[in-house]
Symmetry: C4
Amino acid sequence: MNTTERYEQLAAELAEVGRRFYERGWVLGTSGNLSAAVATRPLELCITPTGARKGALNASDFLLLDARGRVRLPPKGKPSAETPLHMEIMNSRAAGSVLHTHSVWSTILSARHLGDKGLAITGYEMLKGLEGVHTHEHREWIPIVENDQDMPRLTARVHDVLQTEPAAHAFLISGHGLYTWGRTIAEAERHVEILEFLLEAQGRR
Amino acid sequence: MNTTERYEQLAAELAEVGRRFYERGWVLGTSGNLSAAVATRPLELCITPTGARKGALNASDFLLLDARGRVRLPPKGKPSAETPLHMEIMNSRAAGSVLHTHSVWSTILSARHLGDKGLAITGYEMLKGLEGVHTHEHREWIPIVENDQDMPRLTARVHDVLQTEPAAHAFLISGHGLYTWGRTIAEAERHVEILEFLLEAQGRR
Amino acid sequence: MNTTERYEQLAAELAEVGRRFYERGWVLGTSGNLSAAVATRPLELCITPTGARKGALNASDFLLLDARGRVRLPPKGKPSAETPLHMEIMNSRAAGSVLHTHSVWSTILSARHLGDKGLAITGYEMLKGLEGVHTHEHREWIPIVENDQDMPRLTARVHDVLQTEPAAHAFLISGHGLYTWGRTIAEAERHVEILEFLLEAQGRR
Amino acid sequence: MNTTERYEQLAAELAEVGRRFYERGWVLGTSGNLSAAVATRPLELCITPTGARKGALNASDFLLLDARGRVRLPPKGKPSAETPLHMEIMNSRAAGSVLHTHSVWSTILSARHLGDKGLAITGYEMLKGLEGVHTHEHREWIPIVENDQDMPRLTARVHDVLQTEPAAHAFLISGHGLYTWGRTIAEAERHVEILEFLLEAQGRR
């Protein structure tokens, strides 16, 4: 399978993920963005376009970017403004897919715990769905990065958090929702479902 | 595309919007109403009929009204009682579409903050989905208009709020839900999703 | 259209109502029941069978009963145990359809306000969706009947409440959910949506 | 119908149950597991594979196990890690199906009431949907078992609870959700819907 075929297949998978997230109210408005690595070394990225409704994406709406973030397909496409965060995560974590959701509960908790720079979640069996976690006694620290409209500065903050919290499976941006990732789209989607569940349970307690 | 074709196309789009809002519980009973401008100068309006279930509309259920609110199509159609509010917003804001939802959270907040005549929302990335907003630091003031069964009086209040709050993207009517608008149906629907999200997040905090 | 045709058509409509209520979580387990009058004077009733899942009904699952509650179709069918309540409401209110839902919020409020024998709802525009209500200033009193496994006794209590509260559009049974009705299935379903909305809004305040 | 046919039919039924639970958010991530007895004396079990998404199962994803938990079909399948709990319940309760959900409310209540080793639910009409219960005055005690990654130890605890609480229709594992069962898949699914409803109502009060 060549690059274009792989890009088309990943885009079709991500479009389905967008539909499922939309139904749960996790990517309302034009919030959220979804990506997958088409190639590594050098990185090639399939990502949602800017401003798109995530519940009604077609595979052909997705962009193919090269390692410097330049658009290769389609010719006039404009990628999500948060593309640098996706690239930072893919590079720092060797992730094959990065998914960003924007749910009510993740937004509320990202504000409630901003002063603590994160929140710890422990004691839930659901934690075992996170890659490499084998017991509910695991303590998952979800760092919270302060939001910023200066994308290079926000990317630098995300870079720092990924370095200082090498065990983290995800982070929140304050008032802005959840970022998580996985080796595959399926693994990243599993992480979204698990973390959104845990944040809702934590928020309702 | 002539007026009738444009009306039919907009009606079909609005019917889909109604289905999506119904699934989320934002237009239960016969609540909510949906409109789009078929023409401007003079205004021609496509709008939901009175008393209709918004989750099961066909394009042919929608009405075509002229600038004075007279029914042009279908011959015996009866438009939504809140048609004057739609026309007022279209005239004051040069909107191409006006959407009114009636969710649990918008209803609760419209009562909770009525004494303040509105509520401010700030600090959320989601705000950037509102047209012309570029930072989460934006402070969106959502005015609350006191409900009234006297439609000319309620329309006058809405007119006043639209003049005194020229930056507002929406308003609430107390115990009655959300009005928002956009240049297109898609923009107005995006505003509904964003504002309903923000009101739910604000309500649950 | 003869009686059998009318029964088949009403059963098909009620099956769709059941699907919609099930999706919203208002008739989980085998809770809830749905009926419509096939004929009046003497009353003939189309009603859900006992113990059925309301999200997966076929028209042929419904029963046709005569005015004394005897099963006419299908030969070995067993009607919902709450059939006497449906008949009582149809007789007292000249209703064409009676719908009983069993949502989380109606259950919670029916317990919270049992000591008051009911709860008042006022100030909501949504109230105008109730038949004959023309202003949000309307005060809807929803009586609460104490639950009882003795069906004749419970039916007598319902009879009393329907007499003493002639303006009521609905009542709750404590720990047991909502009963409402309408001249048609569509009107009764509209009443369910409106009342479930109002009870949720009241419960979350 | 021979064993393979029966296994295929039960697997197809369980796949549909998984889809319905997934839509309600009761089996997010890879949480939850579903089983049915294909034969008794000796027991043969149809059960979800380990790590599967419960909203997108095909009948062919399910495993057929013998009474000692050895995989008979498909050759390289790996069953859910919680298979011993399913077998324990089937043996102790002569159940034909065991269903485990992992909802937000069951998780919250399993933590809130862990110190009491269970929670009592009474006064709800919905209780009558539990097999053998005939009145809302029934008091259902839902025992809470402390979670443990040592499966033999957890199985022994479940065994003890099933012996000491012979009337229980279900139990919770702390931070881990709900286990219930029935003679058939339909009965077990009914029990899930009823118990998830009751736990949500109890949690929101």
